[in-house]
Structure formats: C-alpha cells, structure tokens
Symmetry: D2
Subunit: 408 residues, 4 copies
C-alpha cells in the first residue's frame, strides 16, 4: 500500500480537522510507543472533579503538532526561514515532547521512576525511535535539546509560550468545561515573530499575552490544583507508597508484571535500558487494575486506600494561605488514631499535609519576549505598562490539610 494513501485526518472537537502532514509523522503516530499515550490521562485524576476530562496525552500531542504547523505557516508568511528539514524536526519534536509521561501524567511522576524526569524519558524514547528510523529524528532531537543554533526552534517546543502550553490550556479548558481557560491560540500565533534569533510576540499582542498568562493562572488554581484533584492525587501516591512498602517487606501483591517491576525497584537504582522497555508498556490501566485487585488484599491500609480511590470516597481537604500548625496536626492525628484505630506508622497514609505553589509567569527562564515597535526586545513583564505583570511572577503558595471525614 502506498504511503500517501495511509495518511489520514483526525476529527478534533477543538480545531476541526487535524491532518497528518507526511510519512515520518505517520510512522511515529503508528508506533506502539506513541499509541501508549492513548492510555495516559492528560490531566491525571482531574476527571474525578471534571467528568469530561478523560482526554489523553495522545490527543494533546496531536493538537500541539497542529498548532506547530500553524505557527510555521505564520512565521514563513513573515519571511522567517524555516527549512523543510527544520519543519520536519519541529513537528516530530512537538509530537514526541511528552512521550516520556507515565501513568496519569504528572500525578505519579517521581513515584514509579525516581530521579528521571518525564522530559529525560521523552528524550530516551526519541533516541530509541531515532535508532529505529535511521537518524531521521536527528533534527527533532537537536531542537528538543536546545542545541540547534536557531534558538527560536527550541522556543516553539519549549518556552513559556510554546505550542505545548497553547494546546493544553485550550484543550483542558475545552474538556473540563472551564471556559475561563479558553485562549485564542489563533490570535497568539498570528502575533508570533522572530527577532534577533529569538521567538517574540509583536507589541500589539501584549494584551493577548497577558490574557494568556491570566488564563493559565486561572487554570492552575481552579483546575490543576483544584483541592479535590489534589487530594485524589495524594491518595494515589499514597497507595503506591504503601504497595512499595509491602513489597519491600516481602508481601505478595497482585498487579501487572510491569507495574510490579517498578514497585519493587530499589530506591536510587539506575534507570537502565530494560527499564525504558518496561516503561513503554506502563500506563493508567496498570494502576487502576492494581487498585481493583488490591481492594481485596489482606493489608487493611492498602485495601482501604484502594477502595477510597476507586469509589471516589476521598478525604476531605482544606487549602489555607498559611502553614498548618503543629497543634492542629496533633489534634487531627489524635482524632484519626482514636476513630479509626490507626497506629502511628499507619497515620501518614491517611493524614496529608504540605504545600502547593504556582506562579503564572517565570521571570528567570524561557521568558516571553515582546518585540517593541522600535525594534527592541523586552520581557513581557517589563513591556506591559498597564498591569503589574511582576505580580504574576510572584510564587503563590497554599497549604493543605486532608484526612478522611470523621463521622460525629
């Protein structure tokens, strides 16, 4: 069958149709590594709060690639040179930028695999694929790593205004129904340009950039760090922690071979090629299936935690602007021990406290640059006369306390 006939079009509820531009991209899409992303929830456990949020990393990667094509077309219209090879590289790089995500995206990062970020895993997968494809991903890898001399290529893939962010804000807003996160990617793209080798936004786009940062901030506090999503993810990481302890203690647990492989790994062990291979078949289904099996296990803590998550019987959680006092923590701990008969060592599985923080704009890295009418380039936080964007650059921290409801 000829390759052209195999090229296809995806229906996307956001952009309409997403076309697959060429055979390399088509082959990447077809690869089992990429198909795995169909089984990774884009927003972790947020669907427990927003029932529409079941979209996947697969879909997000497609969407980001679509925006990249638009960006390339806009920049070329403005006479910025992007060669055919660079275009290929940009598309492959953005398509694969998240291929290293594990189950539930960020939710379990650092739990199953220690000391290796999802970006590092993405790079490992890209190198694997590059071997298979005879070096056709060299350009993509150089763009992804930021070693390509044209800096703006990397900025399209990885900066505070990259195609990744443009897509995920729009997509997450769409599937959650939180319309406040809906950004005008079309307007933002139309204002991109390149000056002095840097990706810039033309001055008239400054309000759009501010609007984008506000939308991002809104999505963080209202959606990504929604207290119920947060407690669900705390519960999930706790289940995993418990399972690892039990396995380390020699207990036998049900679960897929792949999952048990990672749960049984020693702390600080090296991430080897065999691990990458195992990781390539790990997804949300391993986790949820294990939870289902663990509901009936002998360990009360593991079984209770698993049931809570599966039945969405979540701990209650409060977010505060100041740290939780030790007195308050002690008081809650006592109540939990009394009501549920918990031992001191079991307590940490049911009582969660800590902090979350976010800043809408990071002044220090991957800045958003504005191209002034006078030709100068300024950081957006300085270019905006009207709104103190520095305020958006301040880190905001909140403190949480969560534990199961104690019936009166």
């Amino acid at each position: 069958m000829s390759s052209t006939n195999r090229l296809k079009i995806f229906n996307d509820p956001i952009y309409g149709f997403i076309g697959i531009p060429n055979e390399l991209i088509y082959n990447l899409l077809e690869h089992p590594y990429f198909q795995r992303l169909r089984r990774i929830s884009q927003m972790g456990l947020s669907y427990l709060v927003y029932p529409g949020a079941h979209h996947t990393r697969f879909h997000h990667a497609l969407g980001s690639m679509h925006l990249m094509r638009e960006a390339i077309s806009q920049l070329r219209f403005k006479k910025i040179e992007i060669t055919a090879t660079e275009e290929q590289g940009l598309l492959a790089a953005i398509l694969l930028h998240d291929i290293g995500h594990g189950p539930f995206s960020h939710a379990l990062e650092g739990q199953l695999v220690q000391g290796v970020s999802h970006e590092a895993l993405s790079l490992s997968f890209m190198k694997e694929l590059n071997n298979e494809m005879g070096g056709r991903l060299d350009m993509a890898i150089s763009i992804f790593q930021g070693t390509h001399p044209k800096k703006f290529l990397n900025q399209l893939v990885s900066s505070q205004l990259d195609m990744d962010r443009l897509d995920y804000l729009k997509r997450d807003s769409f599937f959650t129904g939180v319309t406040e996160g809906n950004i005008s990617s079309q307007r933002l793209l139309s204002m991109l340009n390149v000056a002095q080798g840097e990706l810039v936004v033309e001055e008239k786009g400054i309000y759009s950039v501010e609007k984008f940062l506000m939308a991002r901030r809104f999505m963080y506090w209202q959606v990504y760090l929604h207290k119920t999503s947060l407690v669900a993810e705390l519960l999930l990481t706790t289940v995993i922690k418990r399972a690892k302890v039990l396995l380390a203690n020699g207990m036998d647990l049900e679960g897929s071979k792949t999952l048990l492989h990672f749960l049984s790994k020693k702390e600080n062990s090296v991430f080897a090629t065999a691990d990458l291979n195992a990781f390539s078949s790990l997804d949300d289904y391993d986790i949820i299936s294990a939870l289902k099996a663990w509901q009936g296990t002998n360990d009360n803590v593991l079984s209770k935690l698993s049931q809570m998550l599966l039945n969405r019987d979540l701990p209650k959680i409060k977010l505060k602007n100041s740290p939780i006092s030790d007195d308050k923590l002690g008081e809650v701990a006592d109540k939990l021990k009394e009501c549920f008969g918990l031992t001191e060592s079991e307590l940490s599985y049911f009582l969660y406290h800590g902090e979350v923080s976010n800043r809408a704009y990071n002044l220090k890295s991957q800045n958003i640059n504005i191209l002034r009418k006078n030709g100068k380039i300024t950081d957006v936080a300085k270019a905006s006369d009207h709104l103190n964007l520095k305020a958006l650059a301040k880190r905001v921290t909140k403190y949480y306390l969560a534990y199961p409801t104690v019936e009166a």
Copy 2:
C-alpha cells in the same frame, strides 16, 4: 455534615453546569455501582477513530438527568402535572438507565454475559439499590419498566425521543467533533407536551424532529458504525472469544478474577446474584489489562490479536452494499492461510465478515408522536408532508469483509 452542603455541581462542557437536585440523587451518584460507570467508555472503542471520544457512561448519565430536569420544567410550564415523587422517579430512572452496561458499553454485549441485556442488568442493579435504600426507588423502577399508569413518564426515559438519546447524540457529537450530530436539545425540549397521556411533540416541532432523526442517522453511519470502529470491535470480541476457548481447553490465562469468572462461565448458565455482584466490579480496565498481559502469552492467536488491538494495528475493512460472495471469501481465506500459515480453525480469528444495519426511525415501537394543531396525534412519519420519513424507517444493511493486510 449536613446533606445539603454535600450537594454539588458538575462542570459540563456541553450544558455548562449540572446541578445535583437532592440527596437521593446525590447518594445514587456516590454509590460504587454508579462510580463504576466512570470506567466504562460511552462509545466503546470509537476513541481509536475519534481521539476525543473518551467520555464515559457516568458523564452521559449525568447529562441525561440534566435534560430530564429541563423536560420536567417545560412540561410543568405547560400545566402537565408531574408530582414531586414522579419527578424524583424520573430523575433516578434516567440516571440509572444504563447502569447495567458492561465494559466498552455495547461493544462486548452478549460476550461476557449471555442472554441478559444491559437493560435487564440495569433493572437488577436498580432493584439492588432499591433494597439498600428502603424502597425509595419504587417509583423509578415502575417508570423504567413502563408499569406506571402515566405512560409519558416512561416515554421520557425510553422512547425514540427520550432524554437518553437527546443526550448521547449531543454528547457523542461534541466529543468526537462530528458537528453534524449536534442537535438542538433545547428546541426539542421546548416543543414537548403531553396529550392523551402520551408524550408528544407540538406540530411546529416537526422539522426539528426530522432534523433529529437525520442527525441520528448521520451519527450511525459516520460514527457508530464507522468501519474502523467496527473492525476494532470485531477484533475485541474475537480476542474474548479466543480467551474463552483457551480457558475451556484448560489453559491458564492472566486476568482479573472478575474477568476470568465471566470468561470461564459455561454457555447458557444462569445469571445469578453472585454474577451481578461480580459484574458490578467489571469495567474497561479489566479488559485492557488482560489484553496487555495476553500480548506475551504462549498462544499465538491470542497474543497476536491482543497486540493488534493495543497498538491499533487493525485489520483492513471494506463495507459493501451487497453480501460478500463465497468465492471472494474463499479467495481471501486461501491467501491468509498461505501468508500467515493459519490453520482452518484459526482462520475465523482473522477473517471477519457479516452485516451491520440500522434504521433511523422505527415505525413499530416507541414512536414519536406529533400533536397536530387540530388536537389529533399522528406518528411523525405520517405527519411530515415534505419529506418521506418512511424512507428513514427503512432498514439499511451493509456487508463487511475484514482481514489483516497481506504485504505484497
């Protein structure tokens, strides 16, 4: 904690906000039976074609309930009496109407459980819940079964213009991005009425009903019976069939206890209470996890089929307007045997043929009634002067032939 405080609101990308009207509904939502629906894909494997179509039975049930509230409000505005108890019953009935669906909704119906429809299972679950809730679902059950003397109550839950269909067309259209299926539920609801005890559509709504039937037909042929979804579901049922054969032959297979319970059941065995209990913990995750495990099994057929589905390496499929000839079948069979070294008995796992059919409107049951301006009630197929709706009532059949690509 008081019950009122626990009532909540869901963000829905389609209707905006969906409120939970009262404590009974809230308690149904919280029940593990209902939470299971979060793990059942509304559209089976259609997400392999439409990457946005990961929405769940849970979400659809919520949406249907929302439309029911709107319908009740419209009918009361028109002075149709619906008591508070009937309202409660309607909401519970529509919320639970699909609670009997198994993994991947329709895709595996009849495969894991024989001789019991999903409607019958829904009824069984409703009775279970009714026991737990001290008879508070009596009204819902009587409406669902159609034994309530007010016939229109049942018609709101189960007819060719029920809240179930209004929601799923709109929702499936939304998440697939196939805008042609988007119906104006608001307009249709505004034209509902009750006459002579029957749910009717006011005459001025006739174009809207036609439009609704056309949208439904469009969705059937373009989405629900899309050839790629079809072949994916054929592949899925074939995997299940193979696993059952292997288990019957005494082979040991990985899989959740629940799934193995159903795969090991004898044909025509009675569906008992224990089965219902097991069914209540069966969902998409049991299936996909089993497929993942089976990829590495000793049986070549099972392992190949599992890999094909997981990696979306689907057989090629053609839809024809006339039956596939025996000659054509024989020819393909020979080629498959030769290329893949298949035995005669293995052939049926790789070569699929059969028919699919649909009619947009069924003249014989659960008709859509039009209330004429002269007060008479007419079937919509007769009320429409302009379009031969009888054409829509004709059953359309297509014939499919599918098998893996044979490389030249």
Copy 3:
C-alpha cells in the same frame, strides 16, 4: 504606503480570522460599491424574528471568499490544477457575487428595480469595476458567467454546493442561533474533488451532502420562510407599492433622492447606466428613513403601514397546506372593511394572501455530483441508497393569509 502593509485581517466569529490575500482583493473591499454591502442586511427583515440576525452582505461576501480559499487549497492538495490567475478570478468572483443586491437583500427584489435580477446587477457592477481596474476582473467575470472552459470554477461560485451556500447557511445559523442550520463546511470542503471537469463530492461524503440539504431545508422553513419574517416582508413590499402609487398620483413624499428616483420610475422602463449609478448608493438606510418620515404623512394607508413596520406591530399570519378558499377571503375582507373602514382599493394593503414554496434540492440544474468509488459520477439524488433524496427534490408549497388583528 506599500500595499503589503495595507493588507489586513478580519475577526470573524465563525471562522476566526479572515485574511485578505492580495492587493486586488483589498482594493475591491475598499471600493464604495463593496462598502455599500455593509448597509444591506443579509437576511432582510429576519432580525424582527431573530434579534441577532443583523449581519450584512459585506460579512457574507468575506466569509464566502474565505471558504473559497479553503476549497482551492483542498483541491490543489488533490492535484487539481488551479492557476494563480484562476485563483484570483475565483476569489474576486465569489467576493462580488452578491454585489448587486439591493436594500434588504431578497426582500425587495423586483420592487425597486423591475426586470433585472440581483445576479444581473452583480454582473453590471463587476463590469464597471473591471473597467476601473483595467481588465483585472476578466477572469472573475468569465468564471461568474460560466463561460470559462473549466466548468468546476463556475460551480464553486454558483451551484447547489457553492461557497455562497456553504457560507450563508453557516452564517445565518450562527447569527440567528438556530443551531440546526449549522453545517460542517470543513468536512464538505475536504470531500470536494474534480472529475471529468465537474465539481464532485467524493462518495464517502454522501451523508454530509444529505445533512447539508436537510439543514438547508430546515433553515428555509424555520427561518427564511418563517411566517413572521414573511409577513414583515409582505408589509415592506406593500409600503413600497403604496408609495409608488402615491408618487404616480403626483403626491409629494419625503425620502432620499435615490429612493425617490426608483420609486418614481415607470413600469418596464429600461435599466440604464444612470440607474446603476443610483443603485450603487441605495441601501437599507434609504428605506428605513423613508418609513420613519412617512409615519407622519397625510396618506393614512402609508402612514399606518410605516408605523406598523417600524414598531413591529405586524399583521397576524397563518400558513396552511392548502390554498385559502375564496369564502374565507371574502369573510376576512368584510371584517376588515367593517372594523377599519377600509375601501375596496385599500383592502389589498392590509390583507395578504398567496403562496410560498421551496425545494431543498433541485434535480434539474446545478446538480450535486457524487464521485463513486468506481470512478463514475452520479447525481446525489440517485447515489443515496438510504434516503429517498428525491423526496427532498419535491417542491413544497404553503399558503398564507395575513391581516391585522381585529380586536374583539
């Protein structure tokens, strides 16, 4: 100022951004002839029923041009040759296809100018512009007139699936809020092709074409021929008729010079160059301003009719499936004469009866062709196996009777 800098982008709530591709198009847009379209309501008086429907011919022309660009890009992707000059011609032709519309688009067609269709006027304006622009519209005119040897070029501008229709259905649906008319122009465009020199739709697009025809039919009966829009337009034509009679009788009426020029023309007089010039400054504002002035005129009929329209105090109207009987007409006439003291000759200004008809698909001209998988071309009405599209080709006629409410 350089021409490139003057090229601009329009925000369109439907397609997002609409770009102006080149200087010729830009110059056409800037021309007073084209700017006049900003003052012509796309849907006549429909805004009296659908308060959002104030969009203009200007906006529709822009939208049609945008779709034409998409169509060209789709066809070129399929290796259909469209030269740069042909592209230019297509864009200019679609942009100007409606430039001959008079006040309130179709509502007053034949009232102010007799014997000259809006298409003929469009052609006259195009020729005028061609003179001004030194022949740069030769190609556009040849495409518009259908004299260009490549038949499909004309079909993109003027057929039952042209860019005009795709845009107006989508646009009118959007601004009225009648979502049932929303068609997937993107899907339809993606299925266009050219075979044997004809514009065709690929076979897999057959459901989309049917859906499109149904949407069109829906919009006709629910919107374009909505009984209240209909009676408003009847009232408007009656005001104009009365004004012409009064002027013919030597009465002095207020009104713009341009409007009075046309109202005072003799029946069957030739449409001369001076008329075209006058027509180029005639728009909705001439009509509404005249009505406002005429509210206070001495002629009771004219003043009453003008007030009725301006204050939306419209006659009541009924649509029937069979002709209004003479008995019924006589009865109503008697009542009106009695209640309002109307003379026989005044009666026709207040009592309206007649018929309206529509067919969703015309079998005889500008057909929609389907390209079968076997390479043959078939009319869509024959290609559809499932739905009797011939039913859609049947002309449907309704009969109206309208007159002011007679208070009891």
Copy 4:
C-alpha cells in the same frame, strides 16, 4: 387574544432561548420606545472594524434581562428573599436601563443632546412609561435610582458586576469574534450572594472576578478603544459638529426633522418634554441617511467628511503612551494645510488629537465585594492575594493623533 398566548421566546445565539416571563415585560418590549433600540447599534461604529458587530441595544437589553432571571433564581436558591414585586422591578429596570441611549450608543453621547446623560434619559423614559402603565414601574424606578432600601437590588442593575456588564462583555465578545472577552457568566452568577444587604461574590469566586476584570480590560483596549473604532467615532462627532456649525450659520441641510431639531438646538438649552418625544424617534438611521445626503452638499468639509465615513476611508491614527508634542502637531497641521488647502478653521475637522483612558476596576464606587469564608466582606482588590488588583485599578491613558493620509 389572551395575554399568555402572546408571550414569546427569542432565539439567542448566546444563551439559546430567552423567554419573556410575563405580560408587563411583554408590553414593555412591544412599546415603540423599546422597539427603537432595534435601530441603535450596541457598539457604535465598531462594526467598521469587527464586521459581525451589528448587534443592537435591543438584543443586549433582552440578554441582560435573561441574566437577571438567572441571578434571581440563584439568589433565591441561597434563601435570599426577593419578592414577586421586586423580581418584576428588577426585570423591568434592567430591560430599560439603556433605553435612553441615542444613535450609535456612546459614540454621539453629548453631541446631539448636551448635559443630559443616557442614564438620565433612561430615567425620563421610564417615568413616561410608568405614567402610561399606571405606576407599574414604581418598583423598577426605585431600584434603578438606588432609593430602594434593599441595596443589592440596585447593585444587580448598576455596579461593577451588574447584569448589564455581564451581558455586554459576553455579547460583544461573541459578535466581534474576540474570544478573549468571553466570560463565564454562569460561573459568576453561581457565586453571587447577599451579605449585610450588599451584593457579594463568594470567596471561591475570586479568580472568576479577576478573570472578568481582565476580560473587561482586554475588551477595552482591544475592542472598545480600538484605534480604528476610535477614529471612526472621532470622524462621526466631527461631521455632527460641522453640520451644527453650518446650520447655525443659516445653511440649509438635508436630514430628518428629528435630527435637524437636535442639530439646530442652541448650546445649553434646556431638555424639555418635547425633546424627549423627539429623541424617542432618533436612531442610527437618521445619522447614516443624513451622511448619505450630505455627501453631495455644497460645503466641502461636510461632504468630504461624510464620504470618508460612508466609504470607510478613515484617517490614519496612532496611539502613544505620552502626549503629542506641540511641535509634532504644528508639523502635521502645516502639512495638511499645504496638501489639502485647508484653512486654519477647517483644520480641526481633519486633525484629531486627544486622549483616551480606562481603568479595569474602580476602587471608589460600586465596588465588587467578596464574602470571605469567615463572613467578612472585603473589596476584591484587597481580597486577592495573588494578583495585585490595585494595578487594575490604575487609570491607563493613551494619546492619539489622527489625520488623513498625505500621499507622498
């Protein structure tokens, strides 16, 4: 005909359906005073920039009333007492809040009528209508004027988070296609409450309020104060100014009686009842028709300005962050005098300079109050920890300079 049957439903592309709740509202809608709003552009001349922005004050008033009904329903759900009479008053007050707007809404405010704001005119019209309707608008007037003891009733009609603003932001965003202005009115309404007699937003709604203020700010700078809209409105006020001068000098000008009445009024003359009556028939059509007639007038300035506006041949305009220097002004003035042969006194008709300013949030009046979880009420600018909302309260000023292009 019974009143109930006359109640109707409007299709709205934004909210779906807008129902008319009762006969009083229906009668207000039908009144010629209100029907006039169909002929007043909501966004002045913005349609010259955003071709979809032809929506009217009529449509906006309907939309605001719809939101008011939702707000009432939300507040009652939270046990806030709103009596039937108060509800009626709220609906009438919001429906009529803008009935005093003149042609092109804000664009000509202060030009045709001096010293009377559109709010004062709205009140005058409301009193007129109240007389006609036998005092049925007493409550509406007391709410509108802020004399009703329940302060929150007035705040729903007139504050920085009133139904007027919620609707116009959403509506203007919709019709312009500037999606960044799209606010989630549903979410904001769901968070309204009343505490200590004041309209408040619950604390969890703080991000939504910030988002709303940002959207408002975006719409101001990107849309309402768009430089091209601004110059179009400057041109319009200049035409009117010129016409007044010519009339004062005794020149005869075409135009509707109503328009000439206002153009011929002495500066500082009292606004009398006769003026109100005349004003009630003044709308966009009087202005545009006059411009059309004035194109051919003897006065070159008036004729040139009129042509420029009608043909959208607008002066070029620049917006600066600092005031235009006298040197720059002098230089431009000299060039204009030379190129166009303008006299000193004519200059001001073609050379525009001045300033525009806006602040997204006003700290001093009609504040937005946040109801803290601890029961305290705080101004939103103080309640927000994360974003320096005080920055949004800063007045931003820009300076413009505009004049016709001087060809090289």
